[in-house]
Amino acid sequence: MSHDMHRKARARMPFVPALAGLAACRDQEIVVTTMGAAREWPKLSSHPLDFHYLPSTMGQAPLVALGLALAQPGREVICLNGDGCMLMNLGALVTIRAAAAVNLTLVVMDNGLYEVTGGQQTVAAVAQTDFAGFARAAGWPSVLEFDTLDDWQVAAPKLTEAPGPRFVVLHVEPIGPAYQLPSLGPMSERIAKFRQALGVA
């Protein structure tokens, strides 16, 4: 079996409906997006507590989300990360666990590909890496994994009821050949509006 066949052999849910399942039950949570999620989430949500971390440093979105969670302990923070991003900074799993941010949920949209650069396989896909296993080993109190949309749609509304921080892997299909990151306007203006929405401006 080729490595690519290994990647495709797993059941995967479609990317946009997976995000839509979360958008449908989102209330006043801060949502931090990056990469593929930053492209699709703005089509599903225009909430003032959406923070699109774009332009970004690949791998650092969970840390930005951790900072927000620690700064705003009365709010839930959901970070929509990519698998390539997660792979680039696995140490974040340890850092977040050590910081004990109980109000943080880290969702990894795992498609096994670097879509932003044209769809090459990640080394994690080749190695068939178990991201959820990393989170368990790092001591995260809640680790969840979904590969069907039906299961995910049932679990998503109750996500923040589990003890935090929570690590969620969604096995998703690639977005497709039209992958292109959006232009969301000047970051400094978006940060100012976001801080205003938080009441800290």
Partner: protein, 160 residues
């Protein structure tokens, strides 16, 4: 050498809320004072690039973080620094351990590249060598914060 109690008291008084760090053998002596501070929350990261992103989230969320790392970590974390200070334009302040600064004629390349790298980034920095320099460091912190620009305090070290 700059002491932990001096740094902790001065930056707590200056309004810092969180210290985001990876220690070296000089900065590491500050750990008890940082941990015992009633006003500072010490946050440990796994690699230096994380420090800039974590501090970014804290600042965006309304806190006043201080980043602390060695100059080698400054080099390692260049892309995160670039993103946070220049893409996001956040006015973060960092204390950077200046390894080998106090060793005359040191061949340490970390020493050789520290100031040229800061100059290349266009970052304003101030060198501190003893506790007597801490008030000037705090003044620099306040000046950077008031001007809403990033700044660096260089902490002179021996072997780091």
């Amino acid at each position: 050498m700059i002491s932990g109690p001096s740094i902790a008291a001065a930056f707590a008084q200056a309004g810092v809320s969180h210290v985001v760090w990876i220690p070296d053998s000089t900065l590491g002596t500050w750990e008890p004072a940082l941990e015992q501070s009633r006003d500072l929350k010490l946050l440990r990261v796994a690699r230096e690039g994380e420090a800039w992103a974590l501090a970014a989230g804290l600042w965006i969320g309304g806190q006043q973080p201080l980043v602390v790392m060695q100059n080698t970590g400054l080099f390692e974390s260049g892309d995160a620094l670039r993103n946070v200070l220049f893409d996001l334009r956040l006015p973060l302040y960092a204390l950077i351990g200046y390894r080998s600064y106090l060793l005359a004629n040191s061949p340490d390349t970390a020493r050789a590249f520290t100031e040229p790298v800061l100059q290349a980034w266009g970052l304003e920095y101030l060198l501190a060598t003893t506790d007597d320099d801490v008030p000037a460091l705090v003044d620099h912190y306040h000046a950077c914060r008031q001007a809403a620009r990033p700044g660096i305090g260089l902490i002179a070290e021996g072997r780091g």
